[in-house]
Amino acid sequence: MKLDFTPEETAFRNEVRAFLQHALPDDLRRKMINRDHLTKEDTVRWQRILNAQGWAVTHWPVEYGGQAWTPAQRYIFQEEMALAHAPEGSPFNVNMIGPVLCKFGTAAQKEKFLAATANIDIWWCQGFSEPGAGSDLASLKTTAVRDGDHYVLNGQKIWTTQAQHADWMFGLFRTDSSGKKQQGITFLLLDMKTPGITVRPIETIDGEHDANEVFFDDVRVPVDNVIGEEGRGWDVAKHLLGSERSGIARIGLSKERLSQLRALETRLAEEGTLDEEEQRRLAHKLAEVEVELRALELTQLRVVAADAHGGGANAAASILKVKGTEMQQRMTELVAELAGPAGLAMPDHDHARNDPDDGWVSAAAPFYFTMRKVSIFGGSNEVQKNIIAKTMLGL
């Protein structure tokens, strides 16, 4: 047993770190540090820098632009990205539709979409949730009815992140409602410019517009746009939600936030914002959160090490999503506590939060609010616990 990374892994870490240091534009780094909202152009610009380096879609198969990295390298890459304040790129492109196309796409679909997806020449959004289908995703009702060589879509999706920017959507649609609800679901790709699609914004509690409702009114989609087989979309969706676990606990992000908290601890004490008793209590809270983070980090590393020789289901892996999201939320909660009453004023969008000293103050509470979503999306923590109870405990 040993905890150290190998010399090769450390060399790889240094290579990643050096690249990020010169490749990440200063204005993006500043925005990330201040938790400012990234524009579509910001995300696209950074993804293309990564793509030019060959690092935009590292966990895709090598033939489609991925890297033959070990689980440890994937872990290191993600950690260094977070510590360097680099944006993560579009999860819909990189982590969702890309791997699905690689596994289930036809030659023509791969040819048409993969390179464009890696480079965000196409911006994707995900059409899964519906007003009546959240945690119970399989109860979705938006229909796709075959009409010649097209499907005709009617219904509504909701919580569609960044649909306002999207060129294309991948989504789940009901093509058959006669059997079990998991059957008769079809995975479709559709051009967001198709007539009959209406996107309506939803403002979220952080004051931002990321989420949308998407309405379908006789939207015609070519049958060539089915991924996999008609009626087998649930299998495709399960693959999409269950891939890649070397970074699932988001240790790097939490470490980056911890370093922010440690810097604030020093600064607020020096400025006299926190009295001695508050400083003492904060030091205790930070010790507490660091213990949890170290335990979670090591649990993640146990999974990374297990994945290097085959992996498979294990108890350590099952806890990462739940505990990782709880940790991310705890970090943002502490930053919001530190901002205190000075953090009441909402950030001013006309002047980006680029004040190097105080940008964090107005960003703290909105960031805390928005991070509540991480234990809800992608299978809520309660759904995760249902799955663990069934698969790991046999209950």
Binding site: R294, A295, T299, I319, E382
Partner: protein, 376 residues
């Protein structure tokens, strides 16, 4: 990065785990608790036969030179069985003081007896009226003739009533110092009690106890250094023991959820209980990770070692409490009866938190050191 045991470690794990499972079931433990000693000489002899009592001692002292990982393996297995024998008291605590402070002559004199299971030693350090876990004492040792005279009173001496020899901490002009004291020496009074966790514990009064110069373990004033090292190793050992006790508690509880029928169904079909069982699993796995960290930290630089070991003890303090309380709750009334294993595991987990600094104590230490991670 490697979290796998090597072949020898795997064999050790199999051997000791099988020994505990096959020879130390709950009834055997209950029986041992009712004997005059309050523990099983037979089981202890079994540990000696497997060489486990010699495990951490150097090969030149007749030991096997086992390190943190080997100790973790053994303590986790003993934790699963809730073993009350004096392994921790004699091999980890007193044995640790001998390893880190004892002279070659002292080790040659004592280690073979420990390894054979024939000699029981106990570390007498804690006292009333001092801050908990402080490396200081009110007990004094003053030079007299060719030796020392020791006066004071020690509490919470684990297995003190079974010990033939104590290692006693006492203040000298040079600072905290350690002495070997024969339990039969004039002026030594031992009052034995049963610990709530089943482990015997004693108060040891020392009144004008005379020991020879050779009784010093380490140099005068070296006690703080020796004990701080011993306590960190012992803390790592307790962390591993608690992981074993948590794992056993968790397994027993999940079995119970599957078999206990109420309202016509297994109670494990209720989501309220499922989610709490999952939280227990999470606490167990986080604790397991920290036990590995502690085991691998024994030989690193002192500053980071202290951080890692305090972090591990803080983690298991929380996890042990959650797992112990939830196990009792989910068992219902059977969980609070003395005749069922889960209640005993809960009590041992409670004791482990109290020993060598509880969660708050270690968090306070970490707060002073500015956390777990190295400060850049």
């Amino acid at each position: 990065m490697d979290f796998d045991l090597n072949d020898e470690q795997k064999m050790l794990q199999e051997t000791v785990t099988r020994f505990v499972a096959e020879t130390y079931d709950f009834q055997k433990r209950e029986h041992a608790l009712k004997t005059a000693d309050g523990w099983s000489r037979e089981a202890y002899a079994g540990l000696a036969e497997m060489g486990l009592l010699a495990l951490p001692f150097a090969e030149e002292d007749g030991g096997f030179g086992g390190g943190g990982v080997e100790m973790m393996i053994v303590m986790e297995a003993l934790g699963r069985g809730l073993m009350v024998e004096p392994y921790f008291a004699t091999v980890v605590l007193a044995g640790g003081a001998l390893r880190h402070g004892g002279s070659a002559g002292q080790r040659a004199d004592i280690v073979p007896g420990i390894a054979a299971g024939e000699r029981i030693l106990a570390l007498a350090h804690s006292e009333k009226g001092l801050p908990r876990h402080i490396l200081a004492a009110r007990t004094t040792a003053s030079r007299s003739g060719d030796g020392w005279t020791i006066d004071g009173c020690k509490i919470a001496v684990i297995h003190g009533q079974s010990a033939d020899t104590f290692i006693v901490s006492a203040m000298t002009e040079e600072g905290l110092s350690l002495f070997l004291v024969d339990a039969a020496a004039k002026g030594v009074t031992v009052e034995g009690k049963r610990g709530y966790d089943g482990v015997p514990v004693a108060t040891v009064a020392l009144s004008g106890v005379h020991v020879a110069n050779e009784a010093l373990v380490g140099a005068p004033g070296q006690g703080e250094d020796i004990l701080s090292h011993v306590f960190e190793e012992a803390t790592a050992a307790l962390v591993a023991e608690s992981v074993g006790a948590m794992a056993e508690t968790f397994d027993v509880t999940v079995d119970y959820l599957k078999t206990r029928q109420q309202f016509g169904v297994a109670i494990g079909s209720f989501q309220a209980l499922q989610h709490r069982a999952v939280e227990m699993l999470m606490q167990l796995e986080l604790s397991r990770s920290m036990s590995i960290l502690a085991a691998l930290s024994l030989d690193i630089d002192a500053d980071q070692r202290s951080r890692n070991i305090s972090a591990a003890k803080a983690q298991i303090g929380k996890s042990g409490r959650i797992i112990g309380q939830e196990a009792v709750q989910m068992h219902g009334a059977i969980g609070i009866t003395a005749e069922y294993k889960v209640g005993h595991a809960f009590k041992r987990l409670t004791a482990i938190d109290a020993l060598l600094g509880d969660r708050d104590w270690h968090l306070a230490r970490l707060a002073k050191m500015r956390g777990v991670y190295p400060v850049a």
